[in-house]
């Protein structure tokens, strides 16, 4: 049995072990025994996929060739882990809250669920990762070749890469796409790579221990050997030391496979808290024996031996085949775990951001009626895994597995690091916009391709040689390795500097000058203020969403049981009886987030959008919502005002109604009064005229007396009718004023004389004539009519034993007040607001003999004269106040 066959058998056995571990982990997860699967230790170990075959073998080679520079690619990630509070803690919380499935999903989701960005990041990731996968295939092939050379048979070695690729594809398909979990966690795969992490660490430590204590004879001896070796002199290139440290730190965050295990597979903060200190220690142990192995290897192995394989050839040269086998398994583990996780991460991206959107586009509007989407997603994942591995294999086969591959590690690092500015900007800076992200990624990607990726394929592969010396078209500034005339720079550092600089500048500048869409702004807030609380843009308007359609679609993606459980939970939350919830925005949002866990945010958005109807949430939609609520608020405010007005009007109407009722009662009373008033003179006129007609021989004196009675009564009637007529004229506004100039005292004199002419001096009038020396320009006749009326009223109604009327005149700035105050008991409170109405008479006392029209006429006149008359009853007796305006020219004395 030759070595190769033994190797194949052992490898198969090891792979079978991995299968078994993954299988049992999946089974345990299905039974809900996930506690130990989520142990922080498992999480920490799974991070070890950072150490790939390239680092397992290549670190020693790098140390042998260029000293301790290899340390930088471990120091950078160590710093990132130690600084977990800054970035990782935020990233994993966002990842959990938003159900992020990949780097591309993070970027797409953050920048307004833009699928274009998802596609861009996916392409970047595929281009950056494919050579890396090729590198892993190469490392396995090389290590197999080492054993093949022992047998000197070499048979089948060239096909090793192919079969390794096929085996990895099978494993990844089986365990990477077993379920379409909404959390996108792969317990089986994680357990398997945790086991592989242990194997590779154990292998490297075993070789290291063997070299230090077995070959060199102790720690001090190894240190002496180092100082005696060609690398004894301490010299590091400061630029490369710093640059590579930062580059590896950036790549650690952005590599799709690292993002997968760091963020997507993360379950709780506890895991991160352990990994923060334990993973740097793991990296330290992984790199601890690299220099000793390199130094001892250079000592012991013949000149020209490939230092990349010292880890393997050193034990072999000492006849330790068992140790070499362990080392082989370690290298195999490093390579396979990287490829498996990278394939899962890439296939998720490719499937969610490229295949599914295209598929949905082709079957537009059919997401709810056509075949099983769940199967389509799984199939597209599986095909993507196959495609990714095939690409890796083709790259390996076409590049011929030469030395060029060894340098590809940093090239890939630089490529994926282009995501860093957009990622950090996305989680820390609210102002980062989609256009900015797109610009940054494009600048970075193009610069990377131009300055590093294409030159790395070998001079003259795609660019003519002359470009490197004189630039394209002879433009020296555009030389791929001396951009903008910056020469004498390490080509790698040159590319890192320019790609990240242009990337960041483009990202910042375009972000500053563009305006994000509403959805972007919502997502920006969610991502920059995450506190572990679940979020998600409120994005669906309640519309014509058909819950049944949503149900069918969700079943296809989540599986029937999970979907039904989700819908039932939702219906219970909404308090409904049956298991069909109404498609409220909250429900749609939650459903979208669940689906996003399986197919990515943008695809989920598109799928729900197809069914709900609003494919995207446009500014108009949001404006409409805002408008609607604003309108409703305005409407309700208006209603409130109206109802207040109505209440006020109703109160006024009630008051008016009461007044009307009172007036009507008074009018009725007055009508009987006025009939009586009219009837009394009529009766006496009729009686006396009958006497005059029927009685002959009346004495002349009697006849005269009777006739004058008839005359008086007729006058009284006429006066009554005159008053009524006067009032109606005044009220209708047809009266014409006879304006004249006169003194107030004269008007009052005339009024007093006229009013008191009939019954002598029973009423005493008190005046202060000094105050009355005011010139008026008004209708003096009408004004005196008002005064006469007021004085006559006082004469008639004042019930004091010695009636007295005071006429007080007061001038204020632009008006004068003329008060008529008597010493009687005044007008009863309940009658005060009707005394100015027609036919209102305060007492039923007949002695006054008026018709109740006087005050109504007075008010009409004063109003016509531009003033006002009111009752001011607080002066002890009845008090009327006439207010008249004074114009400047009238106030002259």
């Amino acid at each position: 049995m030759n070595t190769l066959n033994a190797l194949a058998a052992i490898s198969l056995g090891y792979v079978a072990l991995l299968f078994a571990v993954a299988f049992f982990a999946e089974r345990a997860a299905q039974r809900g025994r996930v506690k130990w699967l989520r142990a922080p230790l498992v999480y920490t170990l799974s991070l070890s996929i950072y150490c790939t075959g390239w680092t397992f073998y290549g670190a020693v080679g790098s140390a042998a060739r260029s000293g301790v520079e290899y340390l930088t690619i471990y120091l950078g990630p160590s710093l990132v882990m130690i600084g977990w509070w800054w970035i990782l803690r935020r990233l994993v919380r966002i990842g959990r809250a938003q159900r992020i499935t990949s780097v591309a999903d993070l970027i797409s989701s953050r920048y307004g669920k833009s699928n274009l960005l998802g596609v861009a990041v996916t392409i970047l990731a595929v281009v950056g990762t494919t050579p890396y996968i090729a590198l892993q295939l190469q490392s396995v092939t090389l290590s197999v070749d080492v054993f093949a050379n022992i047998d000197s048979e070499g048979a089948g070695a060239s096909s090793t890469a192919f079969w390794v690729a096929v085996g990895l594809a099978v494993f990844t398909v089986i365990f990477g796409t077993r379920t379409l979990d909404s959390n996108e966690r792969h317990h089986g795969v994680v357990m398997a790579i945790a086991l592989e992490a242990v194997v590779k660490l154990a292998a490297l430590l075993a070789v290291g221990g063997f070299v230090v204590w077995g070959l060199a004879g102790g720690v001090m001896e190894v240190l002496a050997r180092i100082d005696a070796s060609p690398m004894a002199r301490w010299q590091v290139d400061a630029g490369r030391w710093t640059g590579l440290m930062l580059l590896s730190a950036a790549a650690f965050l952005c590599l799709p496979r690292m993002f997968q295990v760091l963020v997507v597979e993360n379950d709780n903060d506890r895991q991160l808290r352990m990994a923060a200190w334990a993973f740097p220690l793991y990296l330290m142990l992984m790199s601890l024996f690299v220099v000793p192995i390199a130094v001892v290897g250079m000592d012991l192995l013949p000149e020209g031996a490939n230092p990349d394989l010292f880890v393997l050839t050193l034990p072999l040269s000492q006849g330790r085949e068992g140790l070499a086998l362990l080392t082989f398994l370690g290298g195999f583990s490093s390579a396979t775990s990287m490829v498996i996780v990278a394939a899962i991460a890439l296939s998720t991206m490719v499937s969610n951001h490229i295949v599914m959107p295209i598929w949905l586009e082709l079957r537009r509007g059919a997401a709810s009626v056509s075949g099983d989407v769940r199967q389509v997603v799984l199939l597209s994942r599986r095909l993507s895994i196959g495609g990714v591995l095939l690409l890796g294999y083709l790259y390996y086969a076409l590049s011929g597995g030469g030395a060029a591959l060894a340098a590809i590690g940093f090239v890939a690092f630089t490529g994926v690091a282009q995501v860093l500015p957009v990622m950090l900007g996305g989680i820390f800076w609210r102002g980062a916009t989609r256009a900015g992200a797109l610009a940054g990624l494009t600048f970075g990607f193009v610069t990377w391709l131009y300055t590093l990726y294409i030159p790395s394929l070998g001079g003259g592969a795609l660019f003519p040689e002359v470009w490197f010396t004189h630039g394209p078209l002879g433009i020296g500034w555009l030389r791929p390795e001396a951009l903008f005339g910056v020469t004498r720079l390490d080509p790698l550092l040159h590319a890192v500097f320019w790609s990240l600089t242009l990337n960041t500048v483009g990202f910042l500048a375009v972000s500053m000058f563009t305006f994000p869409s509403p959805l972007e702004r919502l997502q920006a807030v969610q991502f920059t203020t995450v506190q572990g609380a679940p979020g998600g843009a409120r994005s669906w308007l309640p519309g014509a969403a058909q819950t049944e359609d949503l149900m069918i679609m969700a079943q296809r993606i989540l599986g029937a049981r999970d979907a039904q459980a989700l819908f039932r939970r939702e219906a219970e939350r909404q308090g409904g009886e049956d298991m069909i919830p109404t498609p409220t925005p909250e429900f749609l949002q939650r459903l979208e987030r669940e689906l996003a866990g399986s197919v990515g945010a943008a695809t989920a958005h598109a799928m729900v959008g197809q069914i709900v109807g609003g494919l995207t949430v446009s500014v108009e939609d949001l404006m409409a919502v805002a408008d609607e609520s604003a309108q409703m608020m305005e409407y309700s405010a208006r209603l409130e005002t109206q109802s207040r007005e109505l209440t006020r009007t109703a109160a006024e109407l009630r008051a008016a109604n009461e007044k009307l009722t009172r007036l009507s009662v008074q009018k009725d009373a007055f009508l009987s009064q006025i009939s009586h008033e009219l009837r009394t003179p009529m009766t006496s006129i009729r009686a006396f005229s009958e006497i005059l007609r029927d009685t002959d021989g009346l004495a002349k004196t009697d006849r005269n007396r009777y006739a004058s009675i008839i005359h008086d009564e007729a006058i009284r009637l006429t006066r009554l009718l005159d008053d009524l007529l006067d009032l109606s004229v005044l009220e209708s506004g047809q009266v014409s004023l006879n304006l004249a100039r006169g003194k107030l005292s004269d008007v009052i004199d005339r009024a007093v004389a006229a009013a008191l002419a009939e019954d002598g001096d029973r009423l005493r009038i008190r005046r202060r004539s000094l105050n009355e020396q005011i010139w008026l320009h008004t209708d003096l006749e009408r004004l005196s009519q008002v005064f006469i009326n007021l004085i006559a009223n006082a004469r008639k109604y004042c019930d004091a034993a010695e009636p007295e009327l005071e006429i007080r005149v007061l001038t204020q700035r632009d008006q004068m007040l003329i008060d008529f105050i008597d010493n009687g008991s005044g007008v009863a409170a309940e009658a005060r607001d009707v005394i100015f109405e027609k036919f209102a008479r305060v007492s039923s006392d007949q002695k006054a003999g008026g018709a109740g029209l006087g005050l109504a006429i007075c008010r009409q006149i004063v109003t016509r004269l531009g003033g006002d008359i009111s009752y001011v009853g607080e002066h002890g007796g009845a008090a009327f106040r006439v207010v008249l305006p004074i114009r400047q020219e009238m106030a002259a004395q």
Partner: protein, 111 residues
């Protein structure tokens, strides 16, 4: 003194409390605890920068010239790995201290 006892909360949260505290915390004690916790978080935030500084130090060293004084690669490696051991351990201790200083039921918030 109605401040809730930390142990009661720890017990309710299903977590064993490491140090039995017979007396409930006074408000000012809680305040001091919160302050201490925030300073620990500050320290944790400073760790990566501290580490960066320590790992950039080797750039300043002058290597041994032929027969001259200077740092050898072995010495540099010892330094780098010593930092590499101390830094994660310090971080681990800080994380433990932060967990102890935070109330069991309170979610960690940014300072």
């Amino acid at each position: 003194m109605t401040a809730p006892g930390q142990d009661t909360e720890a017990a309710l949260a299903g977590r064993p409390s490491r140090r039995a505290r017979p007396v409930p915390l006074l408000p000012e004690e809680q305040d001091r605890q919160g302050f201490r916790r925030r300073r620990l978080v500050d320290a944790a935030c400073a760790m990566p920068f501290f580490g960066m500084l320590l790992w950039w130090l080797p750039l300043l060293w002058r290597g041994t010239d032929a027969g001259g004084e200077g740092i050898t690669t072995a010495q540099a490696l010892i330094y780098i790995f010593a930092v590499w051991l101390a830094l994660p351990l310090a971080t681990g201790l800080l994380i433990r201290a932060i967990r102890r200083a935070s109330a069991p039921d309170r979610p960690e918030v940014r300072p």
